[in-house]
C-alpha cells in the first residue's frame, strides 16, 4: 500500500481539536463488511484496507524466530549460563499446614560447594490475612505442601539439591483440609485464622477483596441485573444443572525460574515470564531499589498460560542469594515444584438455573458457584453466564473456598472454561426442553454480530449437517455425537504498550519493545508491520524485544499483547517514515509532501526523479539514525465491540462399554479482529482446542486427603493429551474488522477454543448417548457412572 505524507482517508476535520474523521472497514468480509466513520487523532497513520489488499500484514509470514527454535539456538532462561553462576534449590514444606518452629541450616551451609543459604521471610502468592497479627510466628505459616521455606545456592545442581535436603525444618502441625467440599463445612480446619484476601493482579489471578469470609468460604461476590425472581416467574420452562470441574495445572514445559545477577549498580534478571515489566516492578518494590536499577531479559520463554507474572518466590529468592553470594544465581523450579507452588486453574462447583420463554427468550440466569484457588483466591467463573446471552435478569454468586493447596493463578481465560462448561450445556438442555435446534436457540438469544456469522458457518458445515438431532440414535456400543459450544472473551487494552522504530543509514530497520514473545509470535507480527510500512520483506526487519531496557511493552495476559502493542508499532513506524521522508527530501530536490514510500521505493509523485530504492534513499539521510517512539493511544471507539469469541464443534465417539470418549474431529470458527498472521493465529487456536480437550478428558490435580500431598506432581500421572489423541482440527478464521486502532488487531489466546471445547464435548457426548456428563475430567469411570444412572438422562429430557 501507499504511505503518503498527506493523510490518507482524511475526509474532514472533526469538531474535536486534533482529530480527523476517517472511514474504516467494519464487519466480516463476505457477510457484513461496511464502512464506519471514526474520529481519530490527526497524527494517526492512514487507515489500512482489509487484509486482501495488504502485502505483508494478514499474510502467513514465517515465524520470525522459527529457524532459531528448530535449530536449538533459541536461548531460554533455563539455558542461560553465566561465568561463576551458582545453582539454587528450594527447601519446600513437606506438610500441608504448620507453623515453623525452627530452621537449621548449619549442615547445608557446611556442605561442599554451597555458597549461600537464604531463609524466606515473606512468601509470595498466598492470600494475605486482613489482620496479619493473627499469624504471630517468626516464619511464614506453611499453608500447602510444597510451599518454599528456604533455598540453597551451590556450585553444581547436585550440590544444591543435596544441601537443600540437609536443611532441618521443625514444624508445629496445624489441622489441614484439602477437599473443597469438606472445607466448606462449619467445623472444617481453617486454612487461615481470619479473613484473607489475594488482590486481583494484572495477570488475572486473585479475586475480590471486599467480600465477607465465613470459615474457609471467601464470598459470596454477588452481581445482579434485573429481578431474578420475576425472571423465573416469567419463564415458561426452567432448566437446572450441577456442574463440577477439577483443578488443572499450567504445566508449561519450561518451569518458572530466573537467573539473577545482583550488582550494586544494576540487578539483571533473565526470567521465564509473561511480563518483563511485572518482574521488574516486583523486584524493585521488594528490594526497595529504583526501577532503573533492575533490568529484566526474556529472549525466549517456554510457555506460561497465565502463571508467569511477577518475580514470584523464585525471582526474589534468586536475587537475594545473588546479593548474598556476589555471584549470578540460577533458580529454575523442578517439575514437582511447578505443579505445587506456582499456580493452577481453580476448580468449580456450579449450580446453574436458566429460565426461558417458549420462543427461547431467556428471562433469568442464576449461578451459584464455589471453587478453590488453594490458599489464594480467584475461582470466579461467571464470565460466560454474564456475557454470552441476553437475559431479562441475572444473579451470580461466586465463592472462593480456601484449602491447603498452592495458590491458583490466572490460567488461559480465567474462569471461562469452567463457566462455559456449565452454561453451554445448560443452554443445550434448554434447547432440548424447548425442542429447538441448538443454533436456532443461540441465534435467538445471542446478539453478537460476529458469532452470528460464525454460527452460520457452522450451520453450513458438513460436520454440523452430519449431526443426528436425535440424541443416542447411533446403533452399536460405540456411539457418535456432535455438539457445539460458544466462547467469549473481552477486549482488554494495556496502555503500557510502547515501541520504537529506527531507520539506519545503511537502510536497515529495527523495532524495539520490552514486550516478550510467549509463543504467540508477536515478533513476527512486529516485523510484518514494519514491512508493510517500508515496503521491504519482513525478513529484513530486526526485532528486538524481551528487555526492559527497551520502551516498556505490555505484560502478556488476557490476550492483550497483539491488540495493545501493534498500534504502537505501526504508529512508530509511520512517524519514523514521515521523519525519514522529511529528512531526505531536500537532498532529492523535492518537498516531503511530494515523496511516497511504495514497495520498497521512494518515489516522487510529480516525477522529479526516477524511483530509488529505500536503501539508496536511506544513504541520503542527514543523520545516521532516525527514530520514533510511539505509545498506545486509546481505542478509537471504546464503547463498541467489547467482546469477541467463537463457536467450536466437536465430534465424539463414546464407547458405552469402556466409558472412553474419543474426540474425532473439531471445527473451530473464531474471530480476533484483523488476523495479523493467520498461520500463527491458527496455531494458537489449535493449542486452545488441544489444551481444552486435555482439561475436559484427562487432567486432574489429585490431593491425598490423609496426608495433604499432591499424588501426581509429574507428567506421567498428571495426564496431558498426546499425539495419538489429537483430533482432526479444522480452523475457520473469521476476519472481523472493528475499527478500533491503526492495526485493528485483537487477541486470540483466551478465546481460542479453550473456553468452549469442553462444553462442545459435553454436548456432543449428550448427542451421542442421551446422557449429560456434568463433571470433568470425563474419565471412563465418570462416563460409565453417568451411563449407569438412568435417572440422570431423564432430568434433562
Amino acid at each position: 500500500m501507499t504511505n503518503r505524507i498527506a493523510e490518507d482517508g482524511l475526509l474532514e476535520q472533526a469538531g474535536a481539536p486534533g482529530k480527523k474523521t476517517v472511514e474504516m472497514p467494519v464487519g466480516v468480509p463476505g457477510y457484513t463488511l461496511a464502512q464506519e466513520s471514526r474520529d481519530v487523532p490527526v497524527a494517526e497513520p492512514p487507515v489500512w484496507p482489509t487484509n486482501k489488499d495488504l502485502k505483508y500484514v494478514g499474510q502467513s509470514v514465517e515465524r520470525y524466530d522459527g529457524a532459531a527454535k528448530v535449530s536449538g539456538q533459541a536461548r531460554y532462561t533455563s539455558d542461560v549460563q553465566l561465568p561463576g553462576m551458582l545453582y539454587a534449590k528450594f527447601v519446600n514444606a513437606s506438610v500441608p499446614h504448620a507453623r515453623i518452629v525452627s530452621i537449621d541450616t548449619a549442615a547445608a551451609e557446611k556442605y561442599p560447594g554451597v555458597r549461600g543459604v537464604h531463609v524466606i521471610q515473606h512468601v509470595l502468592g498466598n492470600a494475605v490475612l486482613r489482620n496479619p497479627a493473627l499469624d504471630p510466628v517468626k516464619y511464614p505459616v506453611v499453608r500447602y505442601a510444597g510451599q518454599p521455606i528456604a533455598a540453597v545456592a551451590a556450585t553444581t545442581p547436585a550440590a544444591a539439591e543435596e544441601a537443600a535436603a540437609l536443611v532441618k525444618v521443625r514444624y508445629d502441625a496445624i489441622p489441614f483440609v484439602v477437599d473443597q467440599n469438606k472445607a466448606r463445612e462449619a467445623d472444617a480446619p481453617a486454612v487461615f485464622p481470619g479473613a484473607a484476601d489475594e488482590a486481583a493482579s494484572a495477570g488475572g489471578g486473585g479475586g475480590p477483596t471486599d467480600v465477607k469470609q465465613t470459615g474457609n468460604v471467601h464470598g459470596p461476590s454477588i452481581h445482579r441485573k434485573g429481578e431474578i425472581d420475576q425472571g423465573f416467574k416469567d419463564a415458561d420452562v426452567v432448566v437446572e444443572g450441577h456442574y463440577v470441574t477439577q483443578v488443572q495445572t499450567h504445566s508449561a514445559l519450561e518451569t518458572h525460574g530466573v537467573v539473577a545477577d545482583w550488582k550494586p549498580e544494576l540487578l539483571t534478571v533473565w526470567a521465564s515470564t509473561q511480563g518483563t515489566s511485572s518482574v521488574r516492578e516486583e523486584l524493585s518494590a521488594f528490594f526497595k531499589i529504583p526501577l532503573t536499577q533492575v533490568r529484566v531479559i526474556t529472549e525466549y520463554m517456554g510457555g506460561g498460560f497465565g502463571a508467569k507474572f511477577g518475580a514470584g518466590n523464585p525471582g526474589v529468592v534468586a536475587a537475594a542469594l545473588s546479593k548474598k553470594t556476589g555471584s549470578p544465581v540460577r533458580l529454575m523450579l523442578d517439575r514437582e515444584e511447578e505443579h505445587l507452588s506456582v499456580g493452577n486453574r481453580p476448580s468449580s462447583d456450579q449450580t446453574l438455573r436458566i429460565g426461558a420463554k417458549k420462543d427461547g427468550t431467556i428471562t433469568a440466569i442464576h449461578l451459584v458457584a464455589y471453587g478453590t484457588a488453594g490458599c489464594g483466591t480467584g475461582a470466579g467463573c461467571s464470565g460466560p453466564a454474564a456475557n454470552l446471552y441476553k437475559s431479562g435478569s441475572l444473579h451470580t454468586e461466586e465463592n472462593d473456598v480456601f484449602i491447603n493447596a498452592g495458590p491458583a493463578s490466572a490460567m488461559r481465560a480465567p474462569g471461562h472454561p469452567q463457566g462455559a462448561f456449565a452454561l453451554e450445556q445448560t443452554i443445550d438442555d434448554l434447547a432440548v426442553k424447548l425442542n429447538m435446534d441448538p443454533i436456532d436457540l443461540r441465534d435467538k438469544t445471542d446478539d453478537h454480530p460476529v458469532r452470528r456469522v460464525e454460527r452460520q458457518i457452522v450451520r453450513e458445515s458438513d460436520l454440523w449437517k452430519s449431526r443426528n438431532p436425535v440424541a443416542g440414535a447411533s446403533p452399536g456400543p460405540i456411539k457418535r455425537g456432535v455438539g457445539l459450544g460458544q466462547s467469549v472473551w473481552y477486549r482488554f487494552v494495556s496502555m503500557n504498550s510502547n515501541a520504537e522504530v529506527r531507520i539506519h543509514k545503511d537502510g536497515s530497520l529495527e523495532v524495539l519493545s520490552g514486550v516478550q514473545d510467549i509463543g504467540s509470535g508477536v515478533k513476527t507480527v512486529m516485523a510484518q508491520i514494519l514491512a508493510e510500512q517500508f515496503g521491504v520483506p519482513p525478513s529484513q526487519i530486526s526485532v528486538k524485544i524481551g528487555d526492559t531496557n527497551h520502551p516498556q511493552g505490555p505484560d502478556s495476559g488476557g490476550s492483550v499483547t497483539t491488540l495493545s502493542l501493534t498500534p504502537a508499532v505501526r504508529d512508530a513506524a509511520w512517524q519514523a517514515s514521515q521523519k525519514f521522508l522529511a529528512d531526505i527530501a531536500p537532498g532529492l530536490g523535492a518537498t516531503p509532501a511530494d515523496l511516497v514510500l511504495v514497495d520498497g521505493e521512494v518515489r516522487s509523485q510529480s516525477g522529479k526523479f526516477d524511483p530509488i530504492s529505500f536503501r539508496r534513499a536511506a544513504a541520503k539521510m542527514t543523520t545516521s539514525q532516525i527514530a520514533a517512539q510511539a505509545k498506545r493511544i486509546p481505542d478509537y471507539d471504546p464503547k463498541k465491540y467489547l467482546t469477541y469469541g467463537g463457536v467450536d464443534v466437536a465430534e465424539v465417539e463414546v464407547d458405552t462399554e469402556l466409558g472412553r470418549i474419543h474426540v474425532r474431529r473439531v471445527l473451530s470458527v473464531h474471530d480476533c479482529g484483523r488476523p495479523m498472521n493467520p498461520a500463527q493465529t491458527i496455531s494458537q487456536i489449535n493449542g486452545g482446542i488441544i489444551q481444552g480437550i486435555s482439561y475436559t478428558l484427562l487432567e486432574n490435580r489429585l490431593l491425598d486427603p490423609v496426608y495433604g500431598l499432591m499424588v501426581n506432581p509429574d507428567l506421567e500421572q498428571y495426564k496431558i493429551v498426546g499425539a495419538r489423541e489429537i483430533p482432526e482440527i479444522e480452523v475457520r478464521l473469521v476476519e472481523a474488522y472493528i475499527g478500533q486502532s491503526s492495526t485493528d488487531a485483537s487477541g486470540i489466546g483466551e478465546a481460542a477454543g479453550v473456553v468452549s471445547i469442553g462444553a462442545a464435548i459435553g454436548n456432543a457426548v449428550y448427542n451421542a448417548v442421551g446422557v449429560r456428563i456434568r463433571q470433568t475430567p470425563m474419565t471412563p469411570a465418570v462416563v460409565l457412572a453417568a451411563l449407569r444412572a438412568p435417572a440422570q438422562g431423564k432430568e434433562t429430557a
Binding site: 522459527g66 517456554g302 494458537q684 499425539a723
Partner: protein, 221 residues
C-alpha cells in the same frame, strides 16, 4: 544402537537394560562405577562388569567424584569432567553448553531431551553420559549441516510447527529419526513416533503436517 557397538558389549542385552549393561537405577544404587583400568572412559566395554556380579581384578572403581569422559557429539570429540551419575542431558547442557536439548520432566516421559545415539532417539535425561561413550551422539545443534537446515527443520518453519518452541528440538529429533528409518511414514506412524513427545502449546497438527510434507505423504494416509 549400531550393530558394531552392540558387539562390543560383552554382557549383551538384558530385559532391564536393552541398550547397555548399565541402568540408571542400578548404577545409582552403588557408590561408584566399576570400570576398566583407565581413567578416561572411551569405550562401552568399560561398563560390562556390572552384570557380571563381581569386580574383576583388572577393574577399578570410578566416582563418585568427577572423571574424564570422552563423548562423540555432532561429529566432534569432547572430553568432559563429570561425575559418573551425570546424565547425558546434563553433560550436553552444562558441560558442553549445547542447550538446544531441553530438560522438561527429567524422568523420561516428555521426550523434550531427545537426542540420537547412533541415530536411535533416546531420552538423554534417562541416559547416563557414560552410556553414550563409544556412540555417536547427535543433538538438535548437529542436525543441520553447514548452516543449512535439515529438510524437516525447514518444514517445521514452513508449517509453523511451533509456538513457544520448548518442545521443538525434541519433536524435530523424534520426527527426523522416524524419517531416517522410514522415509515415507503414514500419519499414524508420525503420531506414533511422537507419542512420547509432550507439547503444551498444542502444536501437534502442524508437526504431523510438516513431517508428512517432507515425507511426501498425504495426511491421513
Amino acid at each position: 544402537m549400531s550393530d558394531s557397538a552392540e558387539e562390543k558389549t560383552e554382557s549383551g542385552k538384558t530385559a532391564d537394560s536393552p541398550r547397555t549393561g548399565v541402568t540408571r537405577r542400578g548404577f545409582l544404587k552403588g557408590a561408584g562405577l566399576t570400570a576398566a583400568g583407565t581413567a578416561l572412559l572411551d569405550g562401552v566395554q568399560a561398563f560390562s562388569s556390572e552384570t557380571k556380579g563381581g569386580t574383576p581384578a583388572s577393574v577399578t572403581e570410578l566416582g563418585p567424584g568427577p572423571v574424564p569422559v570422552r563423548l562423540h557429539v555432532n561429529g566432534a570429540e569432547h572430553t568432559v569432567e563429570i561425575e559418573p551419575r551425570t546424565t547425558l542431558a546434563e553433560a550436553l547442557r552444562i558441560n558442553l553448553g549445547m542447550t538446544g536439548t531441553k530438560i522438561v520432566c527429567d524422568r523420561g516421559v516428555c521426550s523434550g531431551c531427545t537426542v540420537w545415539l547412533d541415530k536411535m532417539p533416546v531420552n538423554s535425561c534417562m541416559t547416563l553420559a557414560i552410556d553414550a561413550v563409544g556412540h555417536h551422539v547427535t543433538t538438535i545443534e548437529g542436525l543441520s549441516s553447514d548452516d543449512k537446515m535439515h529438510p524437516l527443520q525447514a518444514a517445521f518453519v514452513k508449517h509453523d510447527a511451533m509456538q513457544c518452541g520448548f518442545c521443538t528440538p525434541g519433536m524435530v529429533m523424534s520426527c527426523a529419526a522416524l524419517l531416517e528409518r522410514n522415509p515415507h511414514p503414514s500419519e499414524h506412524e508420525v503420531r506414533h513416533a511422537v507419542s512420547g513427545n509432550l507439547c503444551r502449546c498444542g502444536t501437534y497438527p502442524k508437526i504431523f503436517a510438516a513431517t508428512l510434507d517432507v515425507a511426501g505423504t498425504a495426511r491421513n494416509a
